[in-house]
């Protein structure tokens, strides 16, 4: 099944990346094989590197640090909180994750809006700050932390719950402090999950298109997913967008190797 519904269309998509195929127009009728032209076009485009750099900041800030950190903190803090508190907060965090992206965009525009936005109302800024225009990258980083923390929280609480309570009990009886327990008992137990989580959310954040709905095509927030939209989807250029998908894939492979390296050194 993986073969038919994953490998096959996946490779086909990558093949399309080597053509000038479009959904409509003349090149929909007779797509030409253009070899590496699409890749050359992307790699010689200055704006591609610009958006690659922004994506790295975005991924690092919102996923690697933000979602990971907040997700773990929440999972840890909620571990033995009262049941109703735990359920309420979990439901809120989850809500952020499950709302359809088009709706989420409305929520955050209402949040960051210059004229009637909640943040400006709370800060009492007059005239209001147009957050999405003046601080676009920061806006989408905070947004994405809000949007995606649920997954990390869920994974970490699942991971924490699989630490045998006896281990924690032993640590407590041995009189180790909170940080010591975290370091010596909890962390070794969840490190594999942490690595998995980081790899997954990195990949997902790379491909996430939702920030576009908040900042539109603001050049200072043009992350790769937005770049693909602006350069390939608007013009219906399936070939070009297939090629960029492959580049993004390679980039993720590279990042994965970096993570593995760090993980080996730190955790071995």
């Amino acid at each position: 099944m993986i073969g038919v519904f994953l490998v096959f269309p996946g490779l086909w998509t990558l093949y399309i990346g080597a053509t000038n195929f479009r959904l409509t127009g003349v090149s929909a009728r007779e797509p030409d094989f253009v070899g590496l032209d699409n890749f050359e076009r992307a790699l010689t485009d200055q704006t591609f590197y610009h958006s690659l750099w922004l994506t790295l900041i975005f991924v690092f800030g919102s996923a690697v640090v933000g979602q990971n950190g907040l997700g773990f903190t929440l999972a840890w803090a909620l571990r033995d909180a009262r049941k109703w508190i735990r359920r309420t907060l979990e439901a809120l965090v989850l809500l952020a994750w499950i709302l359809p992206s088009s709706v989420v965009a409305f929520l955050w525009i209402a949040m960051l809006d210059r004229d009637g936005g909640t943040i400006n109302a709370l800060l009492g800024t007059v005239p209001g700050i147009a957050w999405t225009v003046e601080y676009p990258l920061l806006s989408i980083i905070v947004f994405n932390i809000w949007r995606g923390t649920a997954f990390s929280m869920m994974l970490y609480s699942a991971a924490l719950s699989s630490i045998p309570p006896s281990h924690l009990e032993t640590a407590r009886l041995a009189g180790s402090s909170g940080t010591q327990t975290l370091r010596d008992v909890v962390f070794p137990h969840i490190k594999r999950h942490a690595l998995t989580n980081t790899l997954l959310i990195t990949l997902w954040t790379f491909n996430d298109f939702t920030p576009f709905l908040i900042t539109a095509s603001d050049y200072d927030a043009e992350i790769i997913a937005t770049f693909i939209y602006n350069k390939a989807i608007v013009g219906g250029e399936m070939g070009y967008s297939g090629a960029i998908s492959l580049l993004v894939l390679l980039m993720n492979l590279l990042l994965a190797l970096v993570y593995l390296r760090v993980a080996r050194r730190r955790l071995a």
């Binding site: 952020a96 709706v103 949040m111 997902w204 989807i233």
Partner: protein, 272 residues
């Protein structure tokens, strides 16, 4: 003393967390009740339940939630069972480079869920004669979600000491029995995690069902919510907000149910 500080700290984290996650959702509470909603959180100027009435009049609304449920549960069953088997096999098999293989599949899955894969996916499903069927959508979604599910689940299964299974084997348990009676209970938080994750992914997925389904009575809620726009492409904020509320409730309930029943590892039965 330490305890007090710790407790205060915990509450501060939770307070800030709650505020951070609750603030943006406020709009979802004010806009549906407003006759003329804007992009501002404010008490409704003219309070009205018209938006909900319009949603209830919409003949696709309820059906779309049912469809979303069918799609997500169907995909969830496939993903969870296939991922459990695959992750168990991969965790126990000594295949060189299996981690790399899973990761490569994972990368490929990110390509398949992108827009660029639209044409191959459509033509594939068309050739299989599965256009306009929920089953086709479920298969495509499963294919895209499976690698990440396997990837996640393998970590949970890896933590089960093989000695458990060996002792079970000594007592004459079949591989399937071992899977059901030892692996599943221990990996339960992991299974619950991917189950919830799958439901959420399918619940929000737009492009695949949109492209593959034709009959409006088969469309899921994520497709329906995109219909509340005008011909000029402007959103009908009132309807969107009202429907979003209805849209979210089933998933939150499902999560709370699944999590309180299956989310925690059952420690009592196994001595570690």
């Amino acid at each position: 003393m330490m305890l007090v500080v710790k407790r205060i700290l915990t509450y501060v984290v939770m307070g800030v967390g709650t505020a951070f996650f609750a603030l943006p959702v406020l709009w979802l509470l004010s806009a549906p009740l407003d006759d003329t909603p804007t992009y501002a959180v404010r008490p409704p100027r003219t309070f009205s339940l018209d938006n909900f009435a319009s949603i209830m009049d919409n003949r696709y609304a309820v059906a779309s939630l049912v469809n979303s449920t069918i799609l997500s549960l169907g995909t969830m069953v496939l993903v969870v069972s296939a991922a459990a088997l695959a992750a168990y096999a991969l965790s126990r098999a000594r295949v060189p480079g299996r981690d790399a293989l899973i990761y490569l599949l994972l990368l490929l899955s990110s390509v398949v869920t992108g827009t660029a894969a639209m044409v191959p996916i459509f033509l594939l499903i068309f050739q299989l004669g599965l256009i306009d069927s929920h089953f086709g959508v479920i298969l495509v979604l499963t294919g895209g979600l499976l690698p990440a599910a396997i990837f996640l689940l393998k970590d949970f299964i890896d933590t089960i000491p093989p000695s458990f299974e060996e002792s079970a084997r000594v007592f004459g348990a079949s591989p399937l029995q071992i899977l059901r009676q030892i692996v599943v209970p221990v990996a339960r938080p992991g299974l619950a995690t991917i189950a919830v994750w799958t439901v959420v992914q399918v619940w929000g997925s737009f492009l695949t069902p949109f492209i593959l389904l034709r009959d409006p009575d088969k469309q899921p809620a994520a497709v329906l919510v995109r219909t509340f726009y005008t011909e000029g492409g402007s959103p009908n904020l009132g309807l969107i907000a009202a429907f979003s509320l209805l849209y979210s409730i089933p998933v939150v309930l499902m999560y709370l149910l699944a999590w309180s029943r299956y989310g925690f590892r059952f420690h009592g039965g196994i001595k570690t």
